[in-house]
């Protein structure tokens, strides 16, 4: 019996960067028509492996077999020529160009633009991925942008489609639709390599999973036969405690953060203005805000931080109007905000952890005296955060940019929570953070609420909101839905709210 060779086989792929062995003799084998998951924590080597496969990086050692014969993949163009296409996690799209122009740039054939536009329309309709080729990318939702990437790949009739965390930006309904498309493509014989850390998805979608840990292939599993917990254990290599929220009726206190009719224009040409956003959070309460990125979350965060001042009467903290106060003043009143961007906004990449701790903590911990920085105190403070939140870092003098995303996020959350804020706001607190670290961050936020702080969590990750929140609302096109109790919240219901099906009190339906 002669089995056909694997469509793609990686053998002993090894790649090292200065100080890190990113891939250590990794094997991977993919067959025609299968949906194969590549699983692993941050820093497990998934991205490196995929970049080698797509010709962005070159392996130090190891072999790539395509249909059984060894190949060199020297560039993305070479990968595409073989029939390998990739949908990146961070879209490679040009915002000021149209859909058709973007697709045109990404395919190697030189056909006229009009022909490409026609093919985009046809392919997108055939696979249920509606797209207007003449729209500019900056006008499109994240889900639509992803469709551009997928359609661009499909136009090249690939035999292998690599998808890097495709659902992290989608609503549950959009994700379901994507899965239908992927299943159909697999049924037509396409091989799909699916990278994700959402274990439920992988169990529903993928026939096989290869699990990486610390750059090594540690297991191959059939996801349907595993539980999410057992898969997570394979990824992490040990058990971890999941965050838990106990219902406690007596805990909820007085109103701490009141947002009333917040209406502001966006400062970015690609942004979303806020339209009469109203909600309030009481002490001890966690409000979750679901929503697909780009629906006004960035504007809300910058209004809360105080980067954008707002008219009087729209924002109040413990009864004090803070609309015209700057970030430092709001911080001294007990507001702590963790925006989504870790490098460059929450933390200064070039500065050390001690210096980053000083930036938001110098008032509360008097780390600056008589105009002089108290370097030793700042280092001690950073050291406390590092040990309390188990941040993997080379001490307080490590540069922020040297930390992995998850570790830096633990440090930032720790830095803010350590100031015992009265109101705590975090956007995407565990985005791209592995399961163990995410659970630790969730627990820290829950513990903070238990001390009487009001907490707002803005996230696209519904599981996260379900675990933590007392009430859940959704933001869509700059409007915020009324909040519903967690007990009444289902994935479907929140998904509909994220899509804009809700009525704000005082508005006609």
């Amino acid at each position: 019996m002669n089995l056909p060779p694997y469509r793609l086989a990686l053998k002993g792929i090894t790649k090292s960067f200065p100080g890190v062995l990113a891939n250590d003799a990794v094997d991977l084998a993919l067959q025609a028509g299968e949906i194969h998951a590549l699983l692993g924590e941050n820093g497990a080597g998934k991205s490196t492996l995929v970049k080698i496969l797509y010709g962005v990086l070159q392996a130090d050692a190891g072999e790539i077999l395509w249909h059984g014969s060894p190949v060199e993949i020297g560039s993305p163009a070479a990968a595409r020529k073989l029939g390998i296409a990739m949908v990146f996690q961070h879209f490679s799209l040009f915002e000021t160009l149209t859909v058709a122009e973007n697709v045109w740039l990404g395919i190697d054939k030189t056909e006229p633009l009009a022909v490409v536009a026609g093919k985009v329309r046809e392919t997108s309709e055939r696979y249920g991925l509606p797209l207007d080729p003449n729209r500019h990318v900056h006008e499109l939702s994240v889900g639509e942008r992803q469709r551009i990437e997928i359609v661009r790949c499909l136009l090249q009739n690939p035999e292998l489609l690599v998808m890097d965390e495709p659902t992290s930006v989608l609503t549950p309904q959009e994700a379901d639709r994507l899965f239908e498309t992927l299943r159909r493509l697999a049924a037509e014989g396409m091989t799909i390599l699916y990278i994700s850390h959402k274990l439920d998805e992988i169990r529903a979608l993928c026939g096989k999973a290869t699990i990486l840990r610390g750059g090594k292939r540690v297991a191959e599993a059939v996801p349907a036969e595993e539980s999410s917990r057992s898969l997570a254990r394979l990824m992490i290599g040990q058990d971890f405690a999941e965050a838990e929220r106990k219902p406690d009726e007596g805990r909820i206190g007085a109103k701490r953060l009141t947002v009333g009719g917040l209406t502001i224009a966006s400062t970015s040409p690609f942004g979303t203005p806020l339209d009469k956003v109203s909600f309030e959070i009481r002490g001890g309460e966690i409000l979750g805000m679901a929503g697909v990125a780009g629906n006004g979350q960035a504007e809300l965060i910058s209004a809360l931080i105080g980067e954008e001042k707002v008219p009087v009467g729209m924002l109040a903290l413990d009864g004090t109007d803070i609309g015209d106060k700057g970030p430092a003043e709001r911080r001294s009143l007990g507001l702590a905000v963790v925006p989504e961007e870790r490098q460059g906004r929450s933390a200064v990449p070039e500065l050390t952890l001690a210096e980053n701790a000083l930036l938001t903590g110098h008032q509360r911990f008097s780390l600056v005296r008589h105009g002089l920085v108290q370097a030793a105190d700042a280092a001690r403070r950073a050291g406390e955060i590092i040990s309390r939140f188990a941040v993997k870092a080379n001490g307080p003098q490590a540069e922020a940019r040297g930390l992995s995303g998850g570790n830096l996020q633990k440090f930032i959350i720790g830095r803010e929570i350590g100031q015992a804020p009265g109101v705590f706001v975090a956007s995407a607190p565990t985005w791209g953070v592995d399961a163990g670290a995410a659970a630790a961050i969730h627990q820290a936020i829950i513990d903070l609420a238990a001390t009487g702080a009001a907490v707002l969590i803005i996230s696209q990750d519904l599981d996260e909101l379900m675990v933590m929140s007392d009430r859940i609302c959704a933001i869509c096109a700059g409007r915020v839905s009324p909040a519903i109790d967690r007990a009444e919240a289902t994935t479907e219901r929140i998904g509909l709210m994220m899509g804009g099906s809700f009525t704000v009190a005082g508005e006609a339906a």
Binding site: K51, P76, S92, L93, F94, T96, L105, G106
Partner: protein
């Protein structure tokens, strides 16, 4: 008499605008690819002296223009090598290029000070140049005036109607994305930088071979900086850059006439007019902030280091 004067003023306007237009169109292409080259002034000066040298050595006007483009491109190649391959700071390198070009052109031009070459010949377009007023104003110019308009049209067509132009604009939008898709970012940017240098050299040679056919040290007198400003105020759009160049040229000529008529306005104020008028007009037509952001190359001046 009136018709003759008006025709002459318009013709002088176009001539004054042409070196600005050439340099600005070149810089526009460079910036659309995401590279900010502040060395326009230096590249113009080197182009001016190279063109003059070749022409006066018997190479002819055409030979002079070719030499000027090569010299400008050579200066740009130096800039491109430093900024794109060695990743030096674009602003600092551009400023250095201007200083270098100023000094180099003065040194190379020492022997030419006080000499002249024949002015670039005029080409009367048959029939059209016979029209009163319009003829002398628009259709009786040297080849480079017509050429500059054709180059503007060609650049517009290239940028907005061809795949190559789309790729170039994409470089300026996000080099990382372009690299991820698989385009040779550095090579394409280097080509755009070379084109910018060649156009700046041509603009410089227009000064030394056609505008005032002689060589004088520092004869560009800040036109390279004006060209740079035109690109920004024109929000990186070729036809607007042309409009800006013509307004600048027109007000320059007009205020000279006003000064000649002995109006009692301090000449310093009148000399400021072209700058002020150009800025005001271009700011007014480009005041839509969203459109400006859409046209501005988002990656302008950002170094690109190809990594994973």
């Amino acid at each position: 008499m009136f018709l003759d004067t008006t025709g002459a003023i318009i013709a002088a306007t176009i001539i004054a605008a042409t070196p600005l237009l050439l340099a600005a169109i070149g810089e526009l292409v460079t910036e659309k690819s995401g590279v900010l080259n502040l060395g326009v002034e230096g590249m113009m000066l080197v182009g001016a002296v190279a063109g003059f040298a070749v022409d006066s050595a018997g190479g002819g006007a055409f030979g002079g223009l070719i030499a000027a483009m090569l010299a400008g491109a050579a200066m740009a190649a130096l800039f491109g090598f430093l900024t794109l391959f060695l990743l030096t700071n674009q602003v600092a390198t551009g400023l250095a290029l201007t200083m270098f070009g100023t000094g180099l052109s003065a040194l190379a031009g020492q022997g030419f000070v006080g000499t002249t070459v024949p002015r670039l010949g005029k080409i009367d377009i048959p029939l059209l140049s016979q029209i009163p007023l319009l003829g002398p104003a628009f259709f009786s110019h040297d080849a480079l005036v017509y050429g500059s308009v054709l180059i503007t049209a060609a650049v517009w067509y290239f940028l907005y109607r061809t795949r190559g132009g789309l790729i170039l604009r994409a470089m300026g939008e996000s080099a990382d994305v372009a690299h991820a898709i698989g385009y040779p970012v550095i090579g394409i940017r280097f080509a755009a930088v070379l084109f910018g240098g060649a156009m700046a050299g041509l603009g410089g040679a227009y000064l030394s071979l056609a505008y005032t056919p002689l060589w004088a040290e520092n004869m560009t007198a800040g036109r390279g900086w004006v060209a740079l400003a035109l690109v920004v105020f024109a929000t990186w759009r070729p036809w607007r850059a042309m409009l800006g160049a013509y307004i600048f040229g027109g007000v320059t000529i007009a205020q000279l006439h006003v000064q000649g008529m002995g109006v009692s306005i301090p000449p310093q104020l009148l000399s400021m007019l072209p700058y002020a008028a150009t800025i005001v007009v271009l700011v007014i037509i480009s005041r839509d902030a969203t459109r400006v952001k859409l046209n501005a190359p988002a990656a302008l001046g950002k170094p690109f280091l190809p990594t994973a």
